[in-house]
């Protein structure tokens, strides 16, 4: 469903991403790994419309999306998170989920002012969806708390819930386990697998936590210094000599 073909991104004299290709099929979790500074997040930023790539193509379905503004890409069903939690801290937990459904509530201002039945119905539907996901990630009791006051692990889960209420086809998670303790990481594992199994969402994952990557990925792409190094199943990657060299240094 997503195909990245020979993607390149140059910042002045620095070639941050050089001819990286990868693809994601439906019902699949694909990871991007590599040492720090390898260009993983830059690939993400190109895919989500943050950067306009200087070379290559990104196909979502059969549509070329490189250089499309980010809000249009997210409307196609390609939603991402960031390394740092970016919630609306001064809004409540449930408001964070409602505002993410803004585009689904495509009603005009007058309908809102007069609370027409159609408007109420849509508003109710988005509330129901928000409540469902809050329950799913275990935050329903905290629905009216300000998002900024949640514990870090809760904020991470709320972020994923906020992506899910937009009903994405493909979810891009940038280091979702960063800063989580082992128990929280295990919970996150379960959640990501469930997104794929129960909600039929494909996931692209950037992660440093190898236990997480190896456990849940269907396929892994390794990038080193902006260039593709290897790709394959977790088992293949684990035994790939190039990957071992890049991570451990040459012996």
């Amino acid at each position: 469903m997503l195909e990245v073909r020979e993607l390149s991104m140059r910042f002045g004299g620095l070639l941050a991403v050089d001819q990286v290709s990868l693809d994601v099929q439906e019902h699949e979790i694909v990871s991007i790994i590599g040492p720090n500074g390898a260009g993983k997040t830059t690939v993400f930023n190109c895919m989500s419309g943050f950067y306009k790539p200087t070379g290559g193509k990104i196909l979502f379905g059969d549509k070329e999306i490189q250089g499309t503004p980010d809000y249009k890409i997210s409307r196609l069903g390609l939603v991402r998170t960031f390394q740092h939690v970016r919630l609306f801290n001064r809004m409540t937990v449930v408001e964070n989920l409602l505002v993410a459904q803004h585009r689904h509530l495509n009603t005009n201002l007058l309908a809102g002012l007069f609370k027409t039945p159609g408007y109420r119905k849509k508003e109710q539907k988005s509330l129901d969806r928000a409540a469902y996901w809050l329950k799913r990630v275990g935050l329903l009791d905290l629905a009216n708390r300000d998002a900024g006051n949640l514990a870090y692990g809760q904020q991470r889960r709320l972020e994923i819930a906020r992506c899910m209420v937009t009903e994405p086809k493909l979810l891009m998670l940038d280091e979702p386990a960063a800063g989580l303790n082992p128990a929280e990481t295990r919970e996150l594992n379960q959640l990501i697998i469930s997104l794929k199994e129960d909600y039929n969402v494909s996931v692209v994952l950037i992660e440093h936590d190898m236990s997480l990557v190896m456990e849940i990925s269907d396929r892994i792409n390794v990038i080193n210094q902006g260039r593709p190094l290897a790709k394959g199943t977790p088992d293949e990657i684990r035994h790939n000599d190039d990957v071992i060299k890049a991570y451990l240094g040459e012996a």
């Binding site: 989500s48 943050f50 503004p69 980010d70 809000y71 997210s74 409307r75 939603v79 991402r80 960031f82 740092h84 970016r86 609306f88 801290n89 001064r90 809004m91 408001e95 409602l98 505002v99 993410a100 803004h102 585009r103 509530l105 009603t107 201002l109 809102g112 002012l113 508003e123 906020r162 937009t166």
Partner: protein
């Protein structure tokens, strides 16, 4: 303490202060969402006053004299024209240079302000124009022969209209879908965009809302002062800006509070000291607040993002 003279100054202050607050909302909302001051906002308010006057004159020529109709039509015309002007300011002076150095939109907005001012000079002439009061009369109380406190109907109208507008705006920001999106965009523009909110539309909406409220203030203060000229927006814009900073720029309750404090302190100065000192006091207040509490009364200190 609560003698008739003091009460009179308080009433005058609250009237003018609530109108300042209406204009200040425009400054504070735009600042809250894009972190910049809309320097053409005073002109938007002036245009609102002119449009209302034109509508009132036109209706009089047509022989329409029923007061509620006249006021309503004048209000609607002023709101429509000012909102369009507010939208145009965003589209022409802000959107093309968004994301550039902060000085650039500042200068393009000042350019827009000069343009609008001079356009009105050309189209309407530079002389003062009389603005009919429309809502005449009022209450008087206090003993005969003593100082009598008076509240005119126009003062009551200004105060009540402002209250209605503020209540409506607070509801809109807190409860409506667009209001929710406004708050989201003001907290994190990039993330809002990623979640599929059309941020350009939301930014334009804040300019339009601020302009509509300024138009309401234009009609009300036009009637209250009794005359308008093309520079009418300049000093009012500065005062409203002061009110917004005083209350804490970016905070809507702050703009309301700042407007009222500024209005009351001005009228107290005119009442007890001299009318000539009133601008000294209001801008002195601005300097003091910037020196000792730069975030304003209700503003939150900017937290450095990590």
């Amino acid at each position: 303490m609560l003698d008739a003279y003091f009460l009179q100054q308080l009433i005058n202050g609250l009237t003018i202060g609530s109108a300042y607050a209406l204009i200040a909302i425009g400054y504070t909302m735009v600042y809250g969402i894009i972190g910049m001051i809309n320097f053409a906002h005073g002109e938007i308010y002036m245009i609102g006053a002119y449009t209302a006057l034109i509508a009132i004159t036109g209706l009089a020529a047509l022989g329409v004299a029923f007061l509620p109709i006249v006021l309503l039509v004048a209000l609607i015309c002023a709101v429509i024209v000012s909102s369009s002007a507010g939208w145009a300011v965003e589209r022409i002076a802000y959107r093309p240079v968004r994301g550039r150095h902060r000085l650039i939109p500042l200068i393009s907005a000042i350019g827009m302000s000069i343009f609008l001012q001079n356009y009105v000079h050309l189209a309407q002439g530079s002389r003062n124009m009389g603005f009919p009061l429309l809502i005449e009369g009022g209450f008087r109380f206090g003993a005969e022969g003593d100082f009598q406190t008076s509240i005119s109907y126009i003062q009551i109208t200004i105060f009540i209209t402002t209250l209605i507008c503020m209540a409506g705006l607070s509801w809109f920001i807190a409860k409506s879908r667009t209001g929710r999106a406004c708050r989201a965009v003001s907290q994190d523009l990039g993330m809002s965009s990623l979640l599929g909110i059309d941020t350009n539309r939301i930014i334009a909406a804040t300019f339009v809302i601020g302009a509509a409220l300024a138009a309401v203030a234009g009609l009300l203060l036009g009637m209250y002062y009794g005359s308008i000229d093309p520079l009418f927006g300049f000093i009012a814009g500065l005062k409203a800006f002061t009110a917004a900073v005083l209350g804490g720029i970016g905070s809507i309750p702050g703009a309301m509070l700042g407007g009222l404090i500024l209005g009351v302190s001005e009228s107290m100065t005119s009442g007890y000291l001299s009318g000539e000192y009133k601008d000294v006091v209001s801008f002195g207040l601005l300097i003091l607040i910037l020196l000792f509490k730069p975030t304003g009364l209700l503003g939150k200190p900017e937290v450095e993002k990590i």
